[in-house]
Each structure stands twice: as C-alpha cells, then as structure tokens.
C-alpha cells in the first residue's frame, strides 16, 4: 500500500501547512516592530505592559477558581451518575453539551438579567460578586470539556467494584471520592483542568459584558489599537495553550495503571 501511504503524507503535509503557515506568518510579523530588522520588541512591550500582567493574573486566578468549581461539581456528579444513575447519563451529557450550542453572549445576557443589582441575587452589585459570576459562567462554558474528560477517566476504572471494595473496608463517601476515585481519575481531571485553563485565558464575551479586567478584553483592546503587539500576544496565547496541552501529555504518563490495561 505504498501509494496509500504517499497520499496520506500529502494530506498530512497540506493540513500542516494550512495550520502552520499563518502561525509562522504571524510570528514573523510580530518580529517586525523595529524597521528593517527582526526583533522581540513587540514581546518586550507586551510583557512589560502593567495591564498585560494585571489582566493575565486576573484570568489565571479566575481559571484556578473555575477549575476548583468545575472539579467540585463535575467529579462527584459524574461519579454518582456512573455508580447509581447510569440511566441519566444521556440527559446529563446533553445538558453538558448545551454551552457549545448556546452562545456565551446569550448566557451572559441571561446572567445580567437574573443577577443584576436589583435582583434577589445581586451578583453584579459588587466587584467580588461580578467576578464570582464570571467564574460560574466560565465553569458552565468549560462543562463540556471537564465532564467528558472526567467521564472518560471514570470509564477506565471499575467504579462500582472499587467503591464497594472501599465501602466494605469501612470507608465513607468522602474517603472513597478523595482516596480511591479522584487519584485514579486525576489525569483525566487535569486534562479537563488544562482545557478549562486554555478556555478561560482567551475568553472575551463574558469578561467584556460583565466588565471584568480579564485577559480576553485586553487582547481585543490591543488588537484594535496596535499593529505588531496583537501578533505577539497571539503567539504568547498559543504558547500558553500548547504548554497546557504538553502538560496533559506529560502528566498522562504518570497515570495510575490498571491491572487489565498496564500500558
């Protein structure tokens, strides 16, 4: 099947070119700030900008809280559905997919109407409340990725038997989840966490409409007013996302191995 292999490589090369050429062009463009020579001036300006540091830190902290919220909600829910309510799985899967089909702008307008300063739950009346609402919104946006990652992790272990083995040894629910289930799906949880991180770092709509000082609106602002710095920022955002993906790959090597599937 030599000709089959040849065409496979052709398709691969074309796809790689489609993906990498714009990226290389953006990178090359980001180096052109100084006339006539290639330099990292645009990166220096961006990284030295206090607004970059402030907005990036804000988004990192929002991402960390989003991940914590996501883990607290998704791990017990996915575990319980696998253990006791498998008949609900299709419904829950459908619900977790909704953030992919309902635009973020619709969700955020809903939030503004529901949680405005005159509502019974006035999240938007304070900065802390608005930031909390942003984290809740991000947790919703990352639900499809977090739920799927955790559910896939749970599929690789015999949830019911491990739970029963722990129960009969005297363990209660909190011990079972923290000592047995979570360590065995930790890599899946981390995969979900890094996907969440990548989503939160670049998210614009919710942060902008809730008027939060996040990295997404900063990116948009720089992009609208500068020439070379947005290209540098795009490359930095790519590097962060790829860094997250690489971490998932590295960490997956340390996953607890099941006896049935040692590799």
């Amino acid at each position: 099947m030599k000709s089959g292999k040849f065409w496979a490589w052709v398709v691969f090369a074309l796809s790689a070119a489609y993906f990498f050429i714009p990226l290389l062009a953006t990178f090359e463009f980001s180096l052109r700030l100084r006339r006539g020579v290639h330099s990292f001036d645009a990166y220096q300006i961006v990284l030295g900008d206090p607004r970059f540091q402030a907005t990036f830190m804000y988004s990192v902290i929002a991402a960390i809280f989003t991940i914590i919220l996501g883990v607290l909600v998704v791990v017990p829910a996915a575990y319980w559905i696998r253990l006791r309510l498998p008949q609900l799985r299709p419904i829950v899967e459908f619900i977790t997919l909704l953030p992919l089909v309902i635009p973020a702008i619709v969700i955020v307008f809903g939030y503004i109407r529901m949680y405005g300063s005159n509502s019974p739950l006035p999240f938007l009346a304070s900065d802390l409340g608005a930031s909390s609402l942003l984290v809740i919104g991000y947790a919703t946006l990352s639900l499809p990725y977090m739920y799927r990652a955790v559910d896939t992790g749970l599929r690789t272990i015999d949830v019911r038997t491990l739970t029963e083995a722990a129960q009969i040894l005297g363990a209660g629910w909190s011990t079972i989840i923290t000592k047995v289930i979570l360590p065995n799906v930790l890599i899946a949880v981390l995969s979900g966490a890094f996907l969440t991180f990548a989503i939160v770092i670049g998210e614009f709509t919710m942060a902008s409409l809730l008027n939060r000082p996040a990295f997404g609106p900063y990116l948009q602002n720089i992009g609208a007013n500068r020439a070379y710095e947005p290209a540098a920022l795009a490359i930095i955002a790519f590097a962060i996302t790829w860094g997250c993906m690489s971490l998932i790959q590295i960490l997956s090597r340390f996953a607890p191995k099941s006896a049935n599937r040692p590799n």
């Binding site: 029963e164 083995a165 009969i168 040894l169 005297g170 099941s258 006896a259």
Partner: protein, 354 residues
Amino acid sequence: MVEPFLSIQHVRKSYGTNTVVQDFSLDVEPGEFVSFLGPSGCGKTTVLRMVAGFEEPSAGKIVVAGKDITRLKPNQRNVGMVFQAYALFPNLTVAQNIAFGLKVGGMNKPDADRRVAEMLEIIKLPQMAERYPYQLSGGQQQRIALARAIAPKPKLLLLDEPLSALDAKVRVSLREEIRSIQKKLDITTIFVTHDQEEALSISDRIAVMYGGKAEQVGTPFEIYNRPATKFVANFVGTLNVLEGTVTDAAAGTVRVNSEQVSLKGKLNGSKSGDTLTLALRPEAISLGRQPGRDSSLSGEISEVHFLGSVIRVRVGIGGNTVSLDTFNSPATPPPAVGEKAEISFSSDDMLVLH
C-alpha cells in the same frame, strides 16, 4: 447446638415484579465455611451482597453475632469481601492496599505496618509490598485482595466467585490456600461459586441454589450422595438418569427396561404404575456382575473412550444410556462397541429424583 454466627432469616429480594431471592434462610456456625453453589442468575450473589450490605432485602432479617445488621451500611458491618474482579486500588501499592481498611479504621501506622507484614507472610508474598497491582499476576492480585479483606479482622469473610477469573491450575492452588487461611484464622466464611468441584472440595457445607431458593443445604458428602431434588442431582456431579415404572409399590419394586430393581423405602408414596426418574452416579456402577451389588441391568456397549488411566464406557439400556468409568488395566483389553454388557450396582446407590 452451637448458636449460629450468621443467621439469614426468610430473606427475599425483588426488583419491581422480578423476585430474584425468595424466602432464603440459612444459619452459619462460627468458623464455618459455607458455599453458595448454583448456576448464573440463581440469586447466590444477591444473597451475598445483602449480607455485605450492598443490596437491601425486600423482606427478612440478617443477624451477625446476635446483632441485626439488615439495615446497616456496608462500612458499618465489619465484614471482609473478596471480589471476582480483584478490585485492588490501582493507585496504591500492595502494602497500601492491605493497609487501606486499617487506616480507615483508625489504626496507627506502626501497628498497621506490622499487620500488613503479617498479612503478606500469611499469603506468602512478603516481597511484593511495594509493587503496584498492575505488576502482579491474577493469582497474586487475588491473594492481595484476600489479605486486604482479612487485615482488619472482620467478623465475616465473603468471597464472591474469587477464583473465576483465574486459570485452572492457579484456581486449584488458590482455593486450597483460601481454605487453609480460613481454617488458620477460624473466620466464618461465605463462598459464592458456580463451580461444583470448588464447592465440594473446600466447603464445610454447601447451599445449592436455584431460582432464588436454597434447593438443599448440606455437607458436600450429603449434597453429592443424597441430592434432595432433581436439580441438585443434575447440577452436582455427573448423573445417569433412567426412567422406571413402579411395579409393586408395597414391595418397592421398579421396572427399568425389562428388569426389576428393588427400591424399598425410597418410593416416597408412589403408586404402582407411576413413572419415576431414577439416577445413578457413574462411580456407583460396575461393568459386569460384581460381588456386593444387588441389582443389574443388561444392555449393549455404545461408546468406548480411552482416556489413559480411565476408560469411559457408555452402555445403552433400552432407551437410556448409562455412562461409567473403569480403570485401565494393561492385562485386560477395553470392551468393544456393540458387545452385550451387564452393569451392576447397589440399589442403595440408586437415587429417586422428585
């Protein structure tokens, strides 16, 4: 009569309209090894899971050491369990797996370490403490699972088909090891299996289950030699089934093919003319007339299989076929297919199946 340690009293389990266990009762003495034997779907695992607390009985009561545990959660019962699928925690080493129940129970580290070392000695795997489950064979994993189950000194040990996933050789050695550990620790044990040889070889008593009920509870000797029902007789061991007609109920004579067999005291109210199902174990039958065997039937040899030390012979008797084994003797040639043959047996060994 020794006070029962485990008492399962009129337990029933239904899922909607489907009743999987109906009125199951059993008393188990302290230190006794009782097997639940039966085909898939007979309810044996459900009863075990009710004793463990994973299923709640729809009716009935489960008492351990005089305490009603029917509504207690599994983690409040102090029961050890070994699962078919090993169920070792993949993220923990062997030592950590064994120590899990001890830590949950609040034992301090030095005592837990001592107990883990003791358990590893008992299961003869002291060098495996730092290995992970995926680095062990199936047999080793199941021994670790056994050590983990007995480490917290449970009142009761439950074994849910622990040997089913293992290959034949390991199965035999591990079942002997389980029995020897159970005797050494004198722990009351319930063992669920569908393998009759396993149940017969290691149990003090066997409860043969079918259709959610205990068909018979007895020692392996009783179960094998005096099966109470047709199902038990068929399920446990190999059985030759013959049709017979009661010729004289008062005298206890039954006609099989065209010959009379005396079954006095076994007819259980059958009337003359009734058709009976009779059964004979292969080892109760001899080829040719033998001293001490009071009954015989004539037929024709239909099959001969040379199996080395044993020769399996099938003899057609009327519409029935009887299978028997004879020892191979180099001096005697095996019987030939088509030869006329007479089989003899003691009428005491003939079972009347109800």
